[in-house]
């Protein structure tokens, strides 16, 4: 197995479309997906680097695994559903804490998925309650509803994250650069999201490589304890 050089983790509430987004990018398709169990990952070769992309389970049950997946992550993609304001709130309440284990210079991207379901000119108020079994299952006939989450809300969260991480806005990519609205179904902005992130991640990886302590154990410095003669042949 190729050893990954960097890690990107997808986080977000259940049914926001993490798996669909990743599959759209990696496999160029939008299949029906079932609820992710635990996690899954893909390896993506970008330039000379292997980047592993981890898809996590949004279900509460697997919440405890999140921080392990985030450990040492070079970038975290926080995903919400633009039609469900609660999913954005969850990012802050439940998922942000999981990223404490990520590397200190971890990058954050905030992604509003399912923009294909947004009815752009807000004509009729067809508010849809309850979260159904994922958009993927609903197929093409999904009713459109006016936008529930504005892009500014995501940008506000991004700034909040920076504050939480005690990062200076000057040192990290701007909110406009790191907030995306995508549709895994139509593919809208999906490549842009991942490729923008890869391009930002690569310099981080090379920087970490340059600074990081050697990962190999120096066996020559090891001291053997005093040896006793063996009685094996006695």
């Amino acid at each position: 197995m190729r050893k990954p050089d960097g890690k990107i983790v997808l986080l977000g509430d259940m049914n926001v479309g993490k798996t669909s987004l990743l599959q759209r990018y990696m496999e160029r398709r939008f299949p029906d997906t079932v609820s992710t169990v635990g996690g899954a990952f893909y390896l993506k070769q970008w330039r000379s680097y292997n980047i592993s992309i981890w898809d996590t389970a949004g279900r509460e049950q697997f919440h405890g695994l999140g921080s392990m997946y985030c450990r040492g992550a070079t970038a975290v993609i926080l995903i919400y559903d633009v039609n469900h304001p609660q999913s954005l709130l969850e990012l802050e309440d439940r998922f942000l804490g999981l990223t404490d284990t990520a590397s200190t210079d971890c990058l954050f991207a905030i992604v509003g998925n399912k923009v294909d379901l947004v009815e752009e000119p807000a004509a009729e108020d067809q508010r849809k309650d309850g979260r159904g079994p994922g958009v993927a299952g609903r197929g093409g006939g999904a009713p459109k509803a006016p936008r529930q989450v504005q892009p500014e809300d995501a940008a506000a969260l991004y700034r909040k994250i920076l504050k939480y991480k005690m990062l200076d806005e000057k040192d990290v990519p701007a909110a406009e650069q790191m907030c995306f609205e995508t549709s895994a179904k139509t593919g809208h902005n999906v490549d842009l999201l991942f490729e923008t992130l890869f391009d930002l991640v690569v310099p981080v990886i090379s920087r970490q490589r340059a600074q990081g302590p050697p990962q190999t154990v120096d066996i020559t410095s090891y001291k053997t304890p005093g040896q006793t003669p063996s009685g094996c042949c006695a």
Binding site: K7, G39, R71, I219, S230, C233
Partner: protein, 947 residues
Amino acid sequence: MMSTKAFTLVSAVERELLVGDKEQGHIECVECCGKNLYVGTSDCIVYHFLLEERAQPAGTATFSATKQLHRHLGFRKPVSELRAASALNRLLVLCDNSITLVNMMSLEPVPSGARIKGAVALALNENPVSGDPFCVEVCIISVKRRTIQVFLVYEDRVQIVREVSTPEQPLAVAVDGHFLCLALTTQYIILNYNTGVAQDLFPYCSDEKRPIVKRIGRQEFLLAGPGGLGMFATVAGISQRAPVHWSENVIGAAICFPYVIALDNEFITVHSMLDQQQKQTLPFKEGHILQDFEDRKRRSFCCLLRTGDGLLQEHLQTGAELKASEPERNLLCSSSFVDCLHRVSQVKRGQWVMGLATGQVNSRGCKEMIEVTPRPGRIRVGGRVIVATSKGVYILVPLPLEKQIQDLLASRRVEEALVLAKGARRNIPKEKFQVMYRRILQQAGFIQFAQLQFLEAKELFRSGQLDVRELISLYPFLLPTSSSFTRSHPPLHEYADLNQLTQGDQEKMAKCKRFLMSYLNEVRSTEVANGYKEDIDTALLKLYAEADHDSLLDLLVTENSCLLTDSAAWLEKHKKYFALGLLYHYNNQDAAAVQLWVNIVNGDIHDSTRSDLYEYVVDFLTYSLDQELVWKYADWVLQKSEEVGVQVFTRRPLDEQQNSFNPDSIITCLKKYPKALVKYLEHLVIDRRLQKEEYHTHLALLYLDEVLQQRPGANSKGAEATETQAKLRHLLQKSDLYRVHFLIDRVRGADLPMESAILHGKLEEHEEALRILVHELQDFSAAEDYCLWRSEGRDPPYRQRLFHTLLAMYLQPGPSVPELAVAATDLLNHHAAEFDAAHVLQLLPGTWSVQLLRPFLTGAVRDSVHARRTTQVALGLAKSENLIYKYDKMKLKGSSVRLSDKKLCQMCQNPFREPVFVRYPNGGLVHTHCAAGRHTNPSPPGPGART
């Protein structure tokens, strides 16, 4: 989910073997080490069995266990864990919170009575931090609350090295190096007992679920996570593999690369670590132990021993049965010794020497050991996996990887087969793996091919470095009869040929053929083709010919390796005669090629590949180096078309036109073909500008003949007549080589005035020529042109004389012809500059009006005025120049030069000894001899040139 058969479950120890008569004792734990199988029971008995493996032809194995002995440990508690330390020949027995050391063979406790007290659970460190080969590292969960202890266990003593307290009560432990992987009450953690640094992994609930902590390899553990997940975690607290999805109530897990095996109350499930998919499910009720035992004794080492007799190189496979009769080998095969090698070589090469060069070694005549080279990767794929119920012990026997892969391929599960093969890479020696993997890729390629998944097939063939002939051989008749190819054995696929594969479906067949075409075309220029270019190109030719593909011709006209006999027969069969000709040509059989093409043109055989085949043949002959061939078919091409056929000679590369293609022979040959002859002579005279009188005269005569011939029907073929005539006139005008007199004789009386005029002109008989033009033809513009033509390149007086001659002819006294007068005025007005005006005025009749000659007169006057003014300007300029010189002269003479001792010659820097000197215009003084010696100005101090 389609299932794979990765394991078979075979029974190892039936309950009858476990005493049998006592009903209350049931299995609590098992341990397996090499062939030794130990079973601990609830009634405090340890059994020792010897496992014999018997390979079965089907690929799986059966086991039979022979009981060696059993021993009651003397407690009333169950034996809760057993661990073998083969390096020490000790079995560690956990019973009643105490770990006892017993001899692996006799099961007798060590005489020293060494034991570890207060242990709830234990784990052996398979990646020990100590370099000491004569001890094992054991880690225990202590009966003390929240305490883990680390011990070193020697043959007959134990030593505590560390005690670590944990944040919560530990329930399960695994260890790798300094890292403890612990299941605590509410979460899993990694704890470095050396530094004390703890790393949280993830929470779980010990109330609901029994934790599983399992070391699966270097620095990596497998844990039972929430929701029935099998989670992987490294010592750094990172997950590098995606989790596998078990059932909620898994009670045990084991690893047998590349599979994760899990046990619950009803099933054994097998997941692949490579794609996380569940691969196999085996029903197994009431199982409560699942354990893997890495067969650590299968590593091999290369030892170089220096004995009294010299060097002895020994290749050791640990655990191998070696004959006791050979003393050196006997020495080496001792298990402790082998484990030493294993450990020591891991730590540091060289350090072990001191440790091993003990008296015993020397006493056997072995002076020193100078090299130990571990051969890594010789581990058998996976170890032994054992499951047990309370009554019986079973072994999960892995099917050989190759068999598994073949099974997958047989059920067309290409992706999985490849993943499995790739995953096996590190467990199989490199060379063997490459051979195996290539073969699998090729097989996979054929599977994709049979499903018409050509893109995938191509990629697999490419990466599997398939011998292309394997693919070609699927297509009937494509391989040349002479090919020595035989399909690989065992076969890469199950198909006899394409007919069988497509079941006669013509459309599929056509698709397969198109694929092969493109594939062969791609590989023929790559290294894949090395060694069998003939087979590839011949096959490609056959495919192209059969499919009537345009590339057939491209293939044949470029570098190729098509085999002649095979290809020729095939092309003939498919009536590709033109292509066949190309093939002959490529094989240096031009005569056969041309004969074939001639037959096509003649209609003897039919092939419509080229509608312009005749031209093609002409072209071919033109550039053919085979002179004989050209002469042989010269008549044929000329008979077909004189104009085109003659190109054989006219377009021939120049350097070749020497030898037998000299003009005279060709002209002789062309005697019968007048049109061709004309073309050829034109080629000689006009294109090649051969300055040979004969050709020029001959050509002129041929033109003339044609003109004369066309005469009678001049009206009907007017255009053509003029064309030939124009050519004749052009030749007569431009060439200076033909025999003028001879031609004048021929032209005379033939009523060809223009031609006569030209010929006269050639003889400088201008009066006669102009007479013909003016009086016979009355073509005044021709007359003017004549003057211009003849005076081309001559001096102005000659030109003037010609024009005056013409003017005189116009003004000739005689019967007044009005046209002549008009012609005269036009001539004067148009060519005013060619005349001497004064002379013309004398010639002109006085009656002509000035108005009539206005352009001429105006021009003449202007010329005259212009000439006068120009001359005046020139005169003025000359005078002024003269004045300048005069001025200079005055200036130079005007002042005196003073010569003293201090003045030095500018040239030689010596003083002047004589009064004679030379003075340059810029004032520099030099000796006369210096000036004579050098004619140039001595580097002038300022501007000024000698005038």
